[in-house]
């Protein structure tokens, strides 16, 4: 073990004295200085890249808009795909398909039964519920399956009636399921 108290270790003081107080004049660690140099270099790069070059970087708002438009596009594509093989005939078939009517029943009981009744009669223990009965042949806004689908999706054309647009809570496919279930309960 060699302890060397060489000149290399002597304490460096600045010449300036005030009130008998002197300052150390020691070097910063080189790695510390290096972090400063990195920030300076980074500043130059960022300044050139963001403020000098005519590159239009999207700001956060534009990025958000882009993401939202991707989601909207995806939804529109799904809807288009759904509607491509969906017509009134197809609905008639779906209403006999338990893979549609079973999940449709679950959705109906959670969301729709409160107004239209568990048995679609719009009655609970004989008392009238807010919704119109769905088990009769009378349809207020069109009796075609696609028209029913549209009423569920976009709500009642008469906003004072309380049938809300369900598209915010249900996907297009889920609306198909619940409409299939309602159709399966029709007197034929």
């Amino acid at each position: 073990m060699n302890e060397i108290d060489s000149n290399n270790d002597s304490i460096v003081l600045r010449e300036h004295v005030f009130d008998g107080i002197q300052e150390y004049d020691q070097k910063l660690p080189n790695w510390w200085l290096f972090t400063l140099y990195i920030t300076i270099a980074w500043f130059v790069i960022a300044w050139v890249a963001y403020y000098q070059l005519p590159l239009n970087y999207p700001d956060d708002f534009e990025k958000l808009e882009a993401q939202i438009s991707i989601i909207d596009q995806k939804k529109a594509d799904e809807l288009e795909k759904l509607m491509a093989d969906l017509d009134n005939e197809a609905f008639a078939n779906l209403s006999h398909d338990p893979t549609y009517t079973d999940p449709g029943k679950a959705i109906y009981e959670a969301k729709c039964a409160a107004c239209h009744g568990l048995d679609l009669s719009s009655k609970l223990n004989g008392i009238q519920l807010p919704g119109v009965p769905l088990n009769d042949t009378e349809w207020k806004y069109g009796s075609q399956p696609l028209e029913i689908w549209k009423t569920v999706r976009d709500g009642s054309p008469d906003i004072t009636k309380g049938m809300i647009p369900w598209k915010t809570q249900l996907t297009g496919a889920e609306i198909v399921q619940v409409v299939s279930y309602v159709l399966s309960k029709q007197p034929q």
């Binding site: 060699n2 020691q26 409160a114 519920l129 809300i164 809570q169």
Partner: protein, 480 residues
């Protein structure tokens, strides 16, 4: 010739006067504190490595599922909405650290800090294994590059990188779980670029810190190291040199000399390169290596152990020792307050949630059935078994009806559901807006959740007028 800078109070030993780095090679120590730290460090490492592997319930013991925003701790599940509890967790940890620091100084740094545990119990052990003891390591640093040195360096840094990779993967597994991490590892990094990026950054950071940066972090960057001097006082237990007993330093044979024989073992073993005999210093991480080193020498010279020991400044100076001081009382109070607040908030926290939200559209509807409000009711469970909600709507005036909450709601683990709730108040009994409450008796757990909303409707005055108009004749005269 390998040299060591002589430690002083004015500058940092690990930095040369020209700003370059002076690598510290602490000598080996043997003793009860070294052994204790090694055992404790191994325990902490085992906890760190094993937690993501131990399943409790359906999830690992600790699994912060960022993708699903569900946080699993030892069988308890928290959702992102419970994040406010983190306030108590962080302040609790902060106050605990204050408390421990006031009583025992930098105990955390030397014994429990992951940085120290990784450095002392993993990386430095590997270096010791490959490069030899302190003087051999110093010699190797100075030696010209040759085959043997190159081989040693390649092996050492190779193992460093491997260990850094393992530690980084374990860290990542706390957030993605072991099975998913294993699945990611079998695919191209591009597919999970974010997770891979975090892992790569961590590997780089760990490798940099423990192969090169080392004690620089503790003595220059660590914020806890910065504030600790404000948390301690003369009664705090620190690692200190008994000046009264040790000075003046001199040879063992010198009858006028104190107990310190000036062997400088305490300096040689210090991982931050200080001389503890200069008193408590900012760089000291409280690792207790100098205690073991000095005790070994004291035993060899036939003197009492404890020339360097855990003691307070007052104790070292033969002054009156105190345990209860104002700051200890204050920190204890703050700690208890924090614990109490945490317990109180945990008591109010349930493993499921019920919330009523008004539906979009008009705030209320009027038709033959009366005045109607439409709500969505959201059910969430954090339990890992099927959860039953038995529902009951209270606060309704006599004659009003709630529809949609008749059936019990059953949720499977991790499931959420939304149901429709319709409140109908016949116009003749409607006498203004009111509050209604949905109560849900939850099993398992046997507790009751409730959510309250306003029932809104027209003012009874305008409703009166409307009813008197000729177009609305269907309702009988309402109550005043």
């Amino acid at each position: 010739m390998p040299t060591t800078r002589k430690p002083n109070l004015e500058s940092v030993t690990s930095i040369n006067n020209d700003g370059s780095r002076n690598f510290i090679h602490p000598a080996d120590t043997k003793g009860k504190f070294t052994l204790g730290r090694r055992v404790f460090g191994a325990l902490l490492l085992a906890v760190y490595i094993l937690l993501p592997w131990i399943p409790i319930g359906d999830y690992p013991a600790v699994f912060l599922d960022l993708a699903e925003r569900r946080f699993h701790f030892f069988g308890l599940t928290f959702l992102s909405e419970d994040l406010w509890l983190g306030f108590f967790l962080l302040t609790g940890l902060g106050f605990s650290l204050f408390y421990v620091t006031a009583l025992f100084g930098r105990l955390w740094c030397g014994w429990a800090c992951p940085y120290t545990v990784f450095l002392e119990q993993v990386y430095r052990r590997i270096e010791r294994l490959i490069d030899g003891d302190a003087s051999e390591r110093r010699k190797l640093d100075q030696a010209p590059w040759n085959g043997s040195k190159t081989a040693k360096r390649v092996v050492k840094h190779g193992i460093y990188l491997l260990i850094s990779l393992i530690l980084a993967h374990i860290f990542v597994s706390y957030f993605v779980s072991i099975p998913r991490l294993y699945q990611y590892m079998q695919h191209s990094p591009v597919e999970n670029a974010k997770v891979f990026g975090v892992m790569a950054f961590l590997t780089g950071a760990l490798y940099f810190c423990f192969s090169w940066f080392r004690e620089q972090f503790c003595i220059i960057m660590c914020p806890y190291g910065r504030i600790q001097s404000a948390l301690t006082d003369d009664d705090t237990v620190i690692i200190g040199y008994d000046e009264k007993r040790g000075e003046p330093r001199g040879k063992k044979s010198d009858p006028n000399a104190g107990d310190c024989i000036n062997c400088s073992r305490c300096v040689q073993v210090c991982p931050t390169g200080i001389d503890i005999r200069n008193g408590l210093q900012l760089e000291c991480i409280g690792c207790s290596a100098c205690i073991d080193a000095c005790n070994t020498i004291m035993e060899k010279t036939g003197r009492d152990r404890g020339l360097i020991r855990y003691d307070s400044f007052n104790g070292l100076n033969r002054l009156k020792k105190r345990i209860m001081r104002p700051r200890v009382v204050l920190y204890t109070g703050l700690l208890l307050l924090g614990v109490f607040a945490l317990l109180a908030s945990l008591r109010g926290l349930h493993s499921s949630k019920v919330e009523i939200i008004r539906m979009t559209g008009q705030p209320y509807y009027i038709d033959e059935g009366g005045i109607r409000n439409q709500f969505r009711v959201q059910f969430v469970t954090k339990q890992n078994e099927p959860t039953h909600f038995a529902l009951n709507v209270t606060g309704l005036p006599e004659g009003a009806r709630a529809v949609g909450m008749d059936e019990e709601v059953i949720l499977q683990p991790g499931q959420e559901a939304t149901k429709t709730l319709i409140i109908q108040v016949p116009t003749e009994i409607y006498s203004g807006e009111f509050n209604l409450t949905l109560e849900a008796a939850v099993t398992p757990g046997d507790y009751t959740l409730s959510s309250t909303v306003d029932f809104v409707g027209p003012s009874t005055y305008t409703l009166n007028k409307g009813n008197q108009s000729p177009t609305k004749t269907e309702t009988p005269s309402p109550q005043p």
